[in-house]
């Protein structure tokens, strides 16, 4: 017949009693059944701890967030085209954007190294501000990533995909030609629109 261990009938001193509670295997007074059960319980706790560890060993995935920031493009006019006292050749005035010091100059500023495209209308009207007379101006534009007009390239239809330099700058010179042979004297004005966009 099974009998419960006579656990409560022991008389032990207070310090030993404390040890028996804290360290069940320590005390010589601890009954064998209690030792066994404590051992099983400890093992089961370890098993639970192991399960907890597995539970927290999950799947991990990393996702990259990204964005490419491009600076807004600023276009600064350094100087306008200078027509004053230009020499005429049979009424024709020509300002070469690569060679002439009268060429207008602009600086485009954007993201360093970024590619961009320049578009402009080659033919524009200049209107006499005192009348209805119109001059047809043909623009010529050259550009260079360096601030050097003499090595700039004329921007034709096939070379308008350009690139900002390391400082985010691109230099533009504007010239053109106009025929004044039949133009009445007066003041003429018009606009030149040049568009720049990232590509």
């Amino acid at each position: 017949m099974f009998q419960y261990p006579r656990l409560i009938n022991f008389t032990i001193s207070e310090p030993e009693k404390t040890k028996a509670i804290i360290y069940p295997f320590y005390s010589e007074y601890t009954c064998p059944m209690l030792k066994y059960l404590t051992f099983v319980f400890t093992i089961s706790l370890l098993h639970t701890a192991n399960s907890f560890a597995q539970q927290n060993t999950g799947q991990r995935v990393s996702v990259t967030i990204s964005a490419e920031i491009i600076s807004s493009i600023d276009l600064i006019t350094v100087r306008p085209i200078d027509f004053s006292n230009t020499g005429r050749n049979d009424g024709q005035i020509t300002i070469n954007p690569v060679l002439s010091g009268r060429a207008g100059k602009m600086i485009a500023q954007g993201t360093p190294g970024a590619s961009f495209r320049i578009t402009f209308l080659r033919q524009r009207d200049l209107v006499n501000i005192d009348g209805d007379n119109v001059l047809f101006f043909s623009y010529m534009v050259s550009g260079n990533a360096e601030d050097d007009q003499s090595t700039s390239e004329l921007l034709e239809d096939d070379n308008r995909a350009l690139q900002f330099n390391e400082s985010g700058q691109f230099f533009i010179w504007v010239g053109g030609d106009v025929n004044l042979q039949s133009a009445p004297p007066g003041n003429y004005e018009g606009e030149f629109t040049l568009e720049i966009e990232y590509i």
């Binding site: 419960y4 261990p5 656990l7 059944m33 209690l34 059960l37 404590t38 099983v40 319980f41 089961s44 706790l45 098993h47 639970t48 399960s51 597995q54 539970q55 927290n56 060993t57 999950g58 799947q59 991990r60 995935v61 990393s62 996702v63 990259t64 967030i65 990204s66 964005a67 490419e68 920031i69 491009i70 600076s71 807004s72 954007g110 993201t111 360093p112 970024a114 985010g168 990232y198």
Partner: protein, 192 residues
């Protein structure tokens, strides 16, 4: 009395019906926690905001354009998903930009999950967001009448289903230097 208490504790620690159903065997023969969880990136791309002009303000990737993850596991398994992200995208991922407003883009994380069997953002449930940490605990398959674990099964893959996690958010483009800005979102999925 202590012995009875110990016996009770042992029984409780060994007998856990939720953990022992996986293999259908006797208690302790298999754990739900041992069943595999697979996390797949479904769209294969990162969370890319694309080209943005500096100083252009708030840019949002909404849930319909989000990064989608698929979590595949036994359908009645509860999972805990934690998503953490830095609070900013940094120019060239340079840590020194964390304290430099000219080379960081503040990022706000958002996330949601859909666990009704279909990849449907419109049916998604938002994560709880705290800062740039998103946490949600959910069952792989909610509804569908199969929420109760079968008493025994030996082919867990027959009972697999997929839940979907949507990661999205927004950045604010201030007056910052041009270039490539990046950071990383970490997603951890564990049994719950």
């Amino acid at each position: 009395m202590p012995i009875r208490l110990l016996v009770l504790l042992i029984i409780l620690s060994v007998y856990n019906p939720a953990r022992t159903l996986a293999q259908g065997g006797p208690p302790g023969s298999g754990d739900l926690e041992d069943l595999p969880i697979t996390v797949l990136e479904l769209d294969g791309s990162n969370l890319d905001f694309g080209q943005i002009i500096a100083n252009s303000g708030l840019h949002i990737i909404d849930i319909n354009s989000s990064k989608v993850l698929g979590i595949t596991a036994v359908r009645f398994l509860d999972v805990l998903v934690e998503i953490t992200a830095g609070d900013a995208l940094l120019l060239n991922n340079d840590p020194s930009c964390n304290s430099d407003p000219t080379c960081r883009l503040p990022f706000t994380l958002d996330a949601a999950y859909a666990n009704e069997g279909t990849n449907d953002p419109s049916a998604a449930t938002p994560f709880t967001i705290n800062g740039n940490t998103a946490i949600a605990s959910f069952r792989i398959r909610q509804g569908g009448g199969n929420n109760i674990p079968p008493p025994a099964f030996r082919n867990p893959e027959r009972f697999e289903d997929t839940a979907y996690v949507y990661i999205f958010g927004s950045i604010t483009a201030g007056n910052v230097t041009g270039g490539i800005y990046t950071n990383t979102i970490n997603v951890t999925v564990v049994h719950d």
